[in-house]
Amino acid sequence: MALKNRDAYKALEDVLGPDYISEEPAILDTYAFQWGAELFTSTPFLPRSGAVTLPGGTEDVQAIVKICNKYNVRYKAFSTGWGFYSGLGLDDTAIQIDLRRMNRIIEINEKSMYAVVEPYVISSQLQAELMKRGLNCNIIGAGCNTSALPMAAHQGLGHTAVSTSYGDRNVLAVEWVLPDGELLKLGTLGSGAGWFCGDGPGPSLRGILRGPQSVMGGLGVFTKAATKIYPWYGPPRQEVEGVSPNYKLKEVPKNFSIHYPIFATWGKFLEAALEISESKIAMLVDRISPPMLAQALTASNDEGAELFARINEETRGRPGFVVILTSESDAELAYKEKVLAHIVKEKEGEYLAFIEQDDVKREYLWMELRVTMPLREVFRSTGRFLGSIGDSALFQTSVRMMIEAMEIKKEYQEKKLMRADDGTDCIWGVTIESGHTGHAEQVVFVHPTPEAWKALAEFSERCEDLALDKHYTVPITVWGDRGHDKFGPYLCNYHNWLRKFKKSFDPRGVSEPAMYISAKE
């Protein structure tokens, strides 16, 4: 299979050079193979695109997009390209734009607290450079191996959302190659005032580039963006001991502490999570369930099963979450510890003793703040997972929806189409911006088989129905025509607006819309 439009291929090759475009089947297959492809095909491979391109900068991206417009070739850009999102809807009449060569940190502005990155800068790279300067960034829950571009992945929610917010709200000025190839400089960048604001002086289209679920690569290509950054009270360089996979910090950094309070009921859990978040003491409030915690702290599934049994002896099904405190001074940390202890006591909770051990703290603290553990926690267990069942709303609303979703999930678990979560739960969630909002997901572990993914799709739709029936918010599985057409009529017909945006910005319909919305009436 090769790109059908040969004139387009020739034009692309002329612009990029032969080293940065390929239609070799072996190369295309490595982009077609995607986690979640089983949702759409009977194999782990999506249909191959016609070609893959590797632009080196914004000018290359513009040239590619203009060629695609000229020859009516659909395109889809992605950063690290993890998941079916980056390949869905493509075939030999379309191309992929792998932004891997665009991997520069353009600016770190310590005074105005923002960083400007290209799409292939990953969060661990940016965080390492920021920490040298006493700063930190939000890292999305998918892991520090993913793009640091604040709108690269869906909403961009991460473990430290309580103190570092999330992608949608961190995004400042943006350089955006629109679907027709025109370059738009959003916010202050548009008026030559730098990167510090996404809304002006200058054009403000943040609502459009975000949409209810972000545009998911369906409205041109973001080539640079500024993201808000936050203070870091730890050392500029983390001293790590051990050899992989047994890394630990040499010591818990001064003015940091980590706990895992557990509570008798979900009600007490929610009250505590909110009070801790609202008290503004926490750097991190992260709901990691015990099976996921055990996975994270072990190097293999065999060890994970054993550790879970140990942790479960202590938790006995009581829900808990991780809290990380940090401060500028000993006195401030002591104060925060007191507040945390007070809230936990008031809600009749207790700290998980397992996490209080020094060696566990030294390992886990840095996992939470850097690695964010998506592989150990979720992929390793069965080989595939989906976490996008949840939604973002009030934390208590999101968690309650997930508790209800657990009942639906059990039907599939009994049929062995989803892993049984060790008899407990696998709800992941975070509070956002001091608890003003929150997010929760039902993490589902499945095997890479079509039957399992069919069940997963069915489960997702049932969770969506639950959201509609019980008036929860828009689940994060809502994307593409199917999702937006389902939810739009309940929410001021927002889907009609999305279509108008799509039509206006992408008159030839070449920016692949499968994850966003098509212009069809």
């Binding site: 390929s22 390209g81 599934n301 690695v371 892993r419 049984a420």
Partner: protein, 423 residues
């Protein structure tokens, strides 16, 4: 068999962690990549995960052999860095299927022309450098050391093809033997009768050559009554210790790298380093001594998903994750050198950046090999080091060439050379 790894191939999450050093220890933007191949060639197919997918595509009959496909397979140093970074978070095998992928290519007659020439040379002259067999023992002329085929010795020193035939590097091998003798070790060599270990041939996909040379070497050592093998070549070390075990031929042979032996001798007081060697030096971990140098772990079982769907191994499988490679002995040796200030590079031990010479890349893609070495030389320079010390002749050769290419003044040493200067 490549097909036996299908369960691992299909469970690749395509997360791209195989491209980076483990994120837990990442400290600097400039030194985040660990895989030379993806760093140079960019398309995902050139990463560890990409090659796993390629192997899956081949296994499932989705792709046919093309020249480009063979380049993708062979433009890789087989350095194992992807394997380590992946296994920080996963129960997967990455490197082992890549060996089998190459074995399949050779078995299918899909050969790399440059590799064919090397293998033809090996078959004719028992070495990987296409040099006349008769010249193999010249490196040791005048050393006054036993030949194990003529006299009894406790320890066999295996020089390896590169040290035997690369005259500029002879001093390192000679230093190793001198040091062993100085410490009172009853050491012997095989001189002109030494043959290749077969390890680099295996990296190219030639399993038959590995088996043949393993048989030759094991038989020679058995006849000579040798129980301990010492080598200065990390590739040979890996072959004798890991690969021979993997194919069931190592037996109870003790295999030591010269750095392990020197470390032992220094700590036992049998070698006293007294002369001052004022220099700032950094150390490059050879892949086959470090992350790939840990013992082979035999496992013959099956993957099970019962009772709870979790992917587990029956019996339990202990994965080789690079944890038990040889990392500290060479560092301890360097630290024991009076006057030498030891500084670390950014990518070290299990997440070291390859020298570029492995996997047949130096033979088939010399520009890529050189590019990889230059990256490492620049990293060494960034530490402020005046000398780059390593423990493998293939690394030494590549770094010397890279330094020359750069017009740099960085000194490149095998560790034994430095130790001998202090005695």
């Amino acid at each position: 068999m490549l097909e036996s790894y299908r369960e691992y191939m299909i469970r690749c999450a395509r997360c791209s962690n195989c491209k980076y050093i483990p994120h837990y220890i990442l400290q600097d933007y400039n030194y985040t990549y660990v895989c030379p191949s993806i760093t140079r060639y960019n398309f995902h197919a050139y990463s560890g995960g990409g090659r796993l997918i390629t192997a899956l595509s081949m296994t499932d009959g989705r792709i046919e052999y093309t020249d480009k496909l063979l380049d993708i397979i062979y433009q890789c140093q087989m350095c194992g860095a992807c394997d380590i970074s992946c296994k920080y978070g996963n129960d997967l095998e990455v490197l082992q299927p890549l060996y089998d992928l190459r074995i399949k290519c050779v078995s299918d007659g899909q050969l790399n022309p440059a590799h064919m020439m090397v293998i033809e040379g090996l078959r004719k002259d028992d070495n990987m450098l296409q040099k006349p067999k008769a010249e193999r023992g010249k490196w040791a002329e005048g050393l006054d050391v036993k030949n194990i085929n003529e006299e009894k010795a406790d320890v066999y020193y295996h020089a390896g093809c590169r040290y035997c035939f690369d005259e500029e590097l002879w001093p390192a091998a000679r230093s190793a033997v001198n040091l062993l003798k100085k410490a009172g070790v009853d050491v012997g060599i095989a001189g002109k009768d030494e043959t290749c270990c077969g390890g680099r041939a295996y990296d190219l996909g030639y399993l038959g050559e590995l088996t043949k040379y393993a048989e030759n070497n094991v038989e020679m050592l058995k006849t000579a009554g040798i129980k301990t093998v010492v080598t200065s070549c990390s590739d040979c070390y890996h072959a004798f210790k890991v690969l021979y075990d993997k194919i069931g031929m190592k037996g109870d042979l003790e295999v030591l790298h010269i750095t392990e032996y020197l470390d032992r001798l220094i700590k036992e007081g049998k070698l006293k380093l007294s002369k001052n060697l004022p220099m700032i030096a950094t150390y490059h971990d050879p892949c086959h001594l470090g992350r790939l140098g840990e013992p082979w772990i035999h496992w013959d079982g099956k993957i099970k998903t019962e009772p709870d769907m979790r992917v587990q191994h029956e019996p339990k499988k202990v994965f080789r994750r690079g944890t038990y490679g040889v990392y500290e002995p060479p560092r301890d040796v360097l630290r024991s050198i009076p006057g030498l200030r030891f500084v670390e590079m950014f990518r070290i031990k299990e997440y070291t950046w390859c020298c570029g010479a492995g996997g047949g890349v130096v033979d088939a893609y010399p520009d890529f090999s050189m590019w990889t070495a230059i990256e490492r030389v620049k990293e060494a320079r960034d530490t402020g080091a005046e000398a780059l010390v390593t423990a493998c002749p293939w690394c030494v050769r590549n770094f010397k060439d890279a330094v020359k290419e750069l017009g740099d003044t960085l000194k490149v040493y095998d560790i034994a050379e430095l130790v001998e200067q202090c005695i």
